[in-house]
C-alpha cells in the first residue's frame, strides 16, 4: 500500500490544564474522504489546525503528504489547502480579486492563475459574479468560493473545517458533491463535521469525543461492528411514557428517541420484540411495529459516548 496521505501518532494539544486533543493516532489513505466527527469542542478543529501548521502540537508527531508537521511546516503548506470554520477570505475584495490574491500568495504564475481562475469560478458557481464584493455573497456561495481558493494551487490534500456550518440543506448537498468531485480527482479530503448524516458521504470516519478518538472505520463498519446487539425501532403510542417504562427494564440495554419512534437495544431480537409488546401492553400502550434496524451513526455515537461515560474515562464535551 502507498504511503498514507496523513499519518498521526499520539498527537496531543494542551491549553493550560485543558487537554483539547489527547494522544490521537490515525492514518488517512490517499484519495479518500476522511471524516472527523464530534461535537463542538471535541477537538476536531484543534487537530486540523495542528496538521495545517496553525498550532504547534504539545506532543506527538504527524506527517502530512509525507512531510513532518514540526520539521517541514513550509513543505506541508505547499501540499495542502485549508478552509477554516470561519469565513476567512477578504470581504472587501471582489471574487476575482480574492482568487487573484490567494493565487499570488501560493506563488502561481500569471498564466497558471489565468487557467485556474475560470476553473475555480466554475467550481464555486460564481461565473458572471467575478466583480461582486465577497461580503455581499450568500453563505453557501462564500463557502464554495473558500473551497475554490483552498484548492487553487492544486493541493494533494485539503482540510475542510466544518465547511457546511450554517448552510441550508440544499447548499450542503451541493457542497458534498464538490467534495466528491475533488476525491474523484485523487485529492485526499480531510473534513470535520458535527452533522452525523454528512458522515455517510465519507469513506473513513473517526469519532472524537473530549479529545479522544472513540471509534473509527467506514460508516458501514461502524454500524455493524460497534453495536452488536440488535436495535429495534419501535412505533407505539405515548412514546415518551413508553421510553420511561422501558428504560427501567433490566433486559433493555439502551434507549433513545428518534422522531416518532423509539430505538431500543436488546440482547435478542425475537425475545426483545415479545418483551416490549408485553411490557407496554400491561400499561395499555399499543405497539404498532417493532422492526430490527441497521443502527444509524447517531446510535453508534451515542453508544460509544455512553460506553465511555460508563467507564468514567470520558470527560464532558465542551460546548
Amino acid at each position: 500500500m502507498a504511503e498514507p496521505a496523513i499519518e498521526v501518532r499520539s498527537l496531543t494539544k494542551r491549553f493550560g490544564d485543558f487537554v483539547a486533543v489527547d494522544a490521537v493516532s490515525f492514518e488517512v489513505e490517499r484519495g479518500r474522504i476522511f471524516g472527523f466527527l464530534g461535537a463542538n469542542g471535541a477537538g476536531k478543529s484543534t487537530t486540523i489546525r495542528m496538521l495545517c501548521g496553525l498550532l504547534d502540537p504539545t506532543s506527538g508527531a504527524a506527517t502530512v503528504g509525507g512531510h513532518d508537521i514540526r520539521r517541514e511546516p513550509e513543505r506541508v503548506k505547499r501540499a495542502i489547502g485549508y478552509m477554516s470554520q470561519r469565513f476567512s477570505l477578504y470581504g472587501d475584495l471582489t471574487v476575482a480579486e480574492n482568487i487573484g490574491f490567494f493565487g499570488g500568495a501560493y506563488g502561481l504564475s500569471r498564466r497558471a492563475l489565468a487557467e485556474r481562475l475560470p476553473w475555480v469560478l466554475g467550481l464555486a458557481g460564481l461565473v458572471g459574479r467575478e466583480r461582486s464584493l465577497t461580503r455581499t455573497l450568500s453563505v453557501g456561495w462564500k463557502q464554495r468560493l473558500a473551497l475554490g481558493c483552498a484548492v487553487l494551487h492544486e493541493p494533494r490534500i485539503v482540510f475542510l473545517d466544518e465547511p457546511t456550518g450554517g448552510v441550508d440543506p440544499a447548499s450542503r448537498r451541493r457542497f458534498w458533491e464538490l467534495i466528491n468531485g475533488l476525491s474523484e480527482r485523487g485529492i485526499t479530503v480531510f473534513v470535520t463535521t458535527h452533522y452525523l448524516d454528512e458522515a455517510e458521504y465519507c469513506n473513513d470516519i473517526r469519532l472524537i469525543h473530549a479529545g479522544r478518538i472513540v471509534a473509527g472505520g467506514s460508516p458501514r463498519e461502524l454500524k455493524t461492528s460497534v453495536i452488536r446487539n440488535p436495535i429495534l425501532e419501535v412505533a407505539c403510542d405515548r412514546i415518551v411514557e413508553a421510553l420511561e417504562i422501558l428504560q427501567k427494564e433490566p433486559w433493555v440495554l439502551e434507549t433513545s428517541i428518534f422522531g416518532m419512534s423509539l430505538h431500543i437495544s436488546v440482547e435478542d431480537e425475537e425475545e426483545g420484540r415479545r418483551l416490549i409488546a408485553a411490557r407496554l401492553g400491561r400499561e395499555g400502550i399499543a405497539v404498532h411495529r417493532a422492526d430490527r434496524i441497521m443502527p444509524s451513526l447517531e446510535d453508534v455515537f451515542i453508544h460509544k459516548i455512553e460506553e465511555q461515560a460508563g467507564t468514567g474515562e470520558a470527560g464532558e464535551a465542551r460546548p
Binding site: R49, C52, G53, L54, L55, D56, E74, K77, R78, I80, G81, Y82, S84, R86, F87, S88, L89, Y90, G91, D92, L93, E97, G100, F101, F102, G103, G104, A105, Y106, G107, S109, C149
Partner: protein, 375 residues
Amino acid sequence: MRAVLSIVWKEFVQLRRDPRLFPVLFVSPVLQILLLGYAANLDVREIPSVVCDLDRSAASRAFLDEFVNSGYFTVRARPERMADIDPYIDGGRAALAVVVPRGFGDKLAGSKPASVLIIADGSESQTATIGVNYATSIANRRAQRIVFDRLERVRGPGPKPALVKAEVRVWYNPELRSRNFMIPAILGLVLMIMTITLASMGIVREKEAGTMEQLIVTPIRPYQLIAGKLLPFTLIGLVEAGFVIAVARLWFGTPLRGSLALLFLMCLAFMLNTLAMGLFVSTVSRSQQQAMFTTIFLVMPMILLGGFVFPVENMPPLFQLVSRAVPTRYFFVAIRGIMLRGAGWPELWPQAAALLILGTALFALSVLRFRKKLD
C-alpha cells in the same frame, strides 16, 4: 517577490475601498498640522494685565505708559485700590499686575530708591516667567534712563557714560518664533502616529477577521508577509510627509533650508522605527482596541522623552539616558536641523546612524516576536 507584490496590491485595493480610511489618511495629517501649528505656540504676547496707580504722579504715569506701550501687555483694568486686583488674578482674567505705590514720584524726586510691585500668576508658569521678565526689563530701562538724566543734570552736557551692551543676533530663527521650532516636530508626530497605527491595525484587523488564519496556511514566509503589509504604509507615510511639509512651507512659511531629499531619507529612517513599533504592537494585541491602547502607551513617552516640547538637555540625567532609546529624539534634531538650519549630511549623520541602528534593533525584535501561528 510575487507573494509580496500580491499583498501590497491587496492592501492598496482594500485601502481604496475603505470609505473612512481614505480621508483619515490624507485629510487628517493636514488638519493636524494646521491645528497644531496654531496651538503649539509657546510665544507669549499680549499678556492680560492690570495696572494700579496709587501714586498718580507724572513719574508714575510715565512709567506705566512705557509698560502699556511695550506691546507685551494688554491692560484689562485700572483698579483704584490694591484690593481690587485680587479678583482679576484669582479669576484668571489677568496674569500680571503692576502696582505703583504711593510716594513713587516723591521718592524719585528726592533721589531715594523707589520700587514698583509686580504680581504674577504662577499657576501659568510659562506666561508668568516671561511676563515678569518683560516687566523687569521695562523697569530697569526706566531706572537706567533716570540715572543718565540725573548724571547729565549734575555734570552738564557731555559724553554719555560707557556701558557694556549685549548685542544679540539670533541665528536661523531671528524672531525667536516658537512655531518654527514646533512645526518640524509636528511632522514627526503625524508620521509616528499614522504609521504605528496603520501597521498595528492593519495586522490585527486580519487576526480579528480570521483572514490571518488563511494567510498562515499559505507558503508565504513571515518576512514576505511583513514586507507586503508594511511597504504600502511606508509609501503612505512618505506621501503624508510631503503633505505636511507643503503645509508647513506654504501656509506657515516655515523655512526649508536644507535638502528635501535628505529630509525624506530621514523620514524613511524614522519610519523604520515606527513601523517596527506598529508590528510589535500587533504581536502583543489580539484586538484593534488593545492595539489602540498599546499604541497610545508607546506614543506618549516618544513625545515627551523625544524633546517635542521640553528639550532633552533639561531632563534629569536618568531620563536623558532613557531618551537615547527613543527614536523621536534623533528625528526631532534631524528635522529641525534640516528645516531651520539647513543642516546636511556632515552634521546629521549621527542622527541617521542612530535611527538606523535603533530601527534595525526594533525591527529584529518585532520580527522575532511575529510568528506565523495562531497561539
